[in-house]
């Protein structure tokens, strides 16, 4: 993923450095919510029509577009299945996690 931030733990040493509101505290770089998933979306790119609907609907921003095709970020995909439900060409399958 092109713009993926390198994980770097933000630790404020003093309350003076803490922003007023909890803002961009960087916690999600370490809290990989993809581990919650029990079914995973798998895209059959041969049937993908590049409409971008899965990218638009993903509530966790866990789909990005690379070389004009969607790619799933399994570090953060929770397996909700919205992409598979919305895909007009039905090329996303929800497959049981066996690991």
């Amino acid at each position: 993923m092109k713009n993926k931030k390198k994980p770097e733990k933000i630790i404020f040493q003093s309350e003076k450095d803490v922003p007023l509101m909890p803002m961009s505290v960087g916690s999600m770089l370490f809290n990989k919510t993809g581990a919650w998933r029990n079914i995973r979306p798998e895209i059959d790119l041969a049937n993908c029509i590049q409409c971008g609907i899965c990218w638009k609907f993903c509530p966790d921003v866990a789909i990005y577009i690379e070389n004009e095709f969607p790619v799933i970020d399994y570090d953060y995909c929770k397996g909700c299945g919205i992409c598979a439900e919305e895909c007009p060409s039905k090329c996303i399958a929800m497959v049981e996690e066996l690991k």
């Binding site: 630790i11 007023l20 509101m21 909890p22 803002m23 505290v25 916690s27 999600m28």
Partner: protein, 384 residues
């Protein structure tokens, strides 16, 4: 310009003069006219604001928070069941430092189903981190909305402007509507230090580990502690421009008073009539009306009661298993003070039962009859 308006419309006028930019509200008796007039103001373009219709008070506050985070001056109003439905979002507003201003009409909580006034709805929101102003006249409601935006936006802490159901919300009074240009000079545009914007993306309110959560709360409290001085400063500035001082408390004949009756909301002005009657009978009584409940004006309360022999707190609310809520606060303000004064606690007027000048005469008689309180709650007006 002077107009005869109801308390609810004083809230709407305050929001219009403050040039609120986003309003999201859900109607509920006895608040409905606030929203009705605001929607008319938006439709007729006298107020250039986005009016967002929502399906609940929870959503109303959520919409306000999004708008506030995007940098818009945001107003809403509610009452009782609506306010308590918002409860979760009230914590989001203060914790996220979003300076929304909200009118709340004090209405008794159900059951029994009630539309009449008491203060348990807003006082149940005590620990949500909102500034709370309790008003006693329609003029004060309008002025306080404008001041609340100024205070809230400087501290990035939301404010609640509270008024009694019917006793104020539906009562018509003469109100001086300030000149728009002067209000603009008093209240500059809202310009938050950070905001939701595509050019500088941030995640707001995300997972915050024990490593940092504590510091966010420390900072909120530290800024809340700045509010009393800022309220007095902005109140004096308001007086200079509009001729009306907006402070933390209002005291009436307290300087030489032996007995001080402590009140809040419209009961404060009723208490003044009671004080006048008592003075005619030779009782040196005074009234301390607490206007700001959070942050609690500890210093002011200590100063005002310093010379008194007895203090009687009249609460239109109750903390079940404890006492009247203002009574608790006044006692805690006086703990450790140089001057040891007995504080008596009275509960009256729940669910809209009338509080009259005679209520205060009865309170004064009961307080003067004893050297120290023998019970934590004395009930006034229970049918026995």
């Amino acid at each position: 310009m002077k107009k005869v308006i109801m308390g609810n419309h004083a809230l709407s006028w305050g929001a219009q003069l403050a040039r609120a930019q986003v309003i999201a509200a859900y109607p509920i008796t006895p608040q409905t006219q606030v929203v009705e007039l605001l929607s008319e103001m938006c439709a007729s373009k006298t107020l250039d604001a986005k009016f967002i219709k929502v399906e609940s008070e929870h959503s109303a506050m959520a919409a306000c928070l999004g708008a506030s985070l995007a940098g818009a001056r945001t107003f809403t109003a509610t009452s009782a069941q609506g306010l308590t439905l918002m409860h979760e979002l009230l914590h989001w507003a203060s914790g996220g430092r979003m300076p929304v201003v909200m009118g709340n009409i004090n209405r008794a909580m159900a059951p029994g189903w009630s539309i009449w006034t008491d203060q348990n709805d807003s006082l149940s929101q005590r620990d949500t981190g909102w500034i709370q102003f309790y008003c006693a006249s329609n003029q004060e409601v309008l002025d306080t909305v404008i001041q609340a935006f100024k205070v809230s936006e400087q501290l990035l802490i939301p404010s609640m402007v509270v008024l009694d159901a019917f006793a104020l919300s539906h009562t018509y009074e003469v109100v001086d509507i300030p000149d728009q240009a002067k209000v603009d000079a008093y209240l500059p545009r809202f310009n938050p230090p950070v905001r939701l914007t595509p050019s500088d993306p941030h995640a707001f309110g995300g997972l915050t580990s024990p490593e940092h959560y504590f510091e966010f709360r420390y900072k909120l409290q530290k800024d809340m502690e700045k509010a009393p001085a800022l309220i007095e400063e902005t109140g004096r500035e308001y007086e200079k421009m509009f001729g009306r001082y907006l402070g933390l408390v209002e005291d009436y004949l307290c300087e030489d008073a032996d007995l001080i009756l402590v009140t809040s909301g419209t009961a404060g002005y009723t208490a003044r009539v009671g004080v006048d009657l008592l003075r005619k009978e030779g009782v040196k009584a005074g009234n301390l009306r607490i206007k700001v409940f959070r942050p609690f004006p500890f210093e002011k309360v200590r100063q005002v009661v310093a010379g008194a022999k007895k203090v009687a707190v009249v609460d239109r609310n109750i903390s079940y298993g404890h006492h009247g809520i203002f009574y608790q606060e006044v006692k805690s303000a006086l703990y450790g003070a140089d001057h040891d004064v007995p504080v008596f606690g009275f509960i009256t007027g729940l669910g809209g039962r009338d509080v009259t000048p005679d209520t205060f005469k009865e309170v004064a008689g009961l307080t003067m009859a004893k050297s120290r309180p023998e019970e934590e709650i004395t009930w006034i007006g229970v049918k026995k």
